[in-house]
Amino acid sequence: MTPILQMNQVTKRIKNKTLVDGLTLSVQPGEVFGLLGPNGAGKTTAIRMMVGLMKMSEGDVLIEGASIATNFREAIVKVGAIVENPEMYKYLSGYRNLVHFARMMPDVSEERIREVVKLVGLEHRIHDKVRTYSLGMRQRLGVAQALLHRPRLLILDEPTNGLDPAGIRELRDYLRKLAREEGIAVVVSSHLLAEVQLMCDRVAIIQHGKLIDVQSVHAFLESRHLTQVEIEVDNIMSAVRLLEPADVVTDPESRTLKLQLEHEQIPATIDRLVRGAVRVYGVTKQTRTLEDKFLEITGGESVV
């Protein structure tokens, strides 16, 4: 399957600062993909390069094979996006805003505008000036604007900003439905782990402009209770035999073994080694799960 979004070694440098460093990832049709990272990690810069608002210093972004750098018009026509806040023309009505953007895209009928308005639930207020909208309503109008031309790739930068819990759930269900039924790819950025967990199939963790890890949320949820434990013993061979059938990684030089354990299994494991006459010199818990990694990155406070 050809990916809808393909980023190859995308890099942004401004003077001596590297904002985004060699970002490579791909998003498949039907997939909701999360960009997770603390504020200032380079998520928004990455998104700006995806849609051609910023030029890449190196690398390329392909949208269904069309390069955003060299074939901008063909690539961007497949993209619908909200970059940062959903800022619209405040002195125009919601409807006029949609007409404005519909005129800039091929084949958006008035019928389609009405359809999208209904979809985001703005029928009753669409002819009011945007000035009078709440943040949540502006967010909906932003989503409407991004969906008008039936894009293949939908990019939403921090889409749940300003939405109440019901609105977040609604948006999530809608995005999943869009991805599943129409086979479009959705890229969502967020600094909230919980949000990304709920919405996305896969998550890329970004820090200091670098891609730390890409993992499926499913595997990530499974692994989140496991901790990597390192145990120093006198006899590795008998220790491995005692711990069978656990998946153990050994390091004969430092006479340590590593294995994934749930927190509650740690005392029993040590007990088994001691009873088997293996001398234990040390037990170290390693923080190598994705959640721990993310906590390290964000300092913990932005995880809800």
Partner: protein
Amino acid sequence: MFNLLLNENMKIFRRTRSWLLIIGMIVVTFVTLLVVDNLTTGTQGSSDWRVNVQKQIEADQAQMENPNYPAHMMEGLHQQIALNQYRLAHDVPPTDRTMWGYLLTAAKLMMVATIFTVVASADSVAGEFSGGTIKLLLIRPYYRWQILLAKYASAVLFSLLLLLVTAVTAFICSGMLAGFQDMSIPYLYLTSNGAIQETNMVQHVVSTYGYQGVQMLMIVTMAFMISTVFRSSAVAIALSIGLMFIGTTVAPFITSYRWAKYVLFENIDLTGYLVGAPPIEGMTLSFSIAVLAVYYTIFLVSTLLVFQRRDIAN
């Protein structure tokens, strides 16, 4: 491209501000002409213009005898006498209080129309940046230069509209004050070498408005450039109106420098050429047009280049 133009016009005309500017222009034109009319009523004395002109000549001649009269204004008096004598000799009545005279007075209001257009067009690009809408505007299947050109075209159209509004309002108002007549009276002026010239009045008025339109176009293009480069409508409005006033004020004082004739503001007011009075001795209309064309190209090209290359980062 046509859709882009529709969009930009929608953003201008669905804004209350634009309509206030248009109505403001109508009011300013009306009030100015009424005030001018009021100030000159009752000063003409006799109903026969020949008597009034004769009186004016005598008054001016008396003034010239006055030893306290400033020497640098003598030249002006001298010219006025010559013109008035020509009127009597060739039976050409003065035009000040005719419809065409009023129209000519109102042409000076193009400065106000220019300021109004600057207010509207300075926001065209800068407003997209300050409102954040630029991010949604530029992720469409158009090149940036197309979007910018649509914005520029709509700004020029708006200035053209204000020019027409001013001219039509002035025409109606002048006609109401002085009657829709006197079209056959020629317009008189003194060339720089002292010769008196007659010219068709209607043609003179139309040319004056046209040349004022050129000045307007230059200022609007400059404001548009400043707006794009600085991304701030306040800076664009202040800087371009400030430059316009400083430029036109300073222009007459630097004419002695050799480089002066290449300065934008020496060339921007072409109306001098209509009455045979170039801003600097030796300058010609085609020279000024060439200089303006160079400035115009620089303004537009640098606007396009800056806009094309800029990273949209906030």
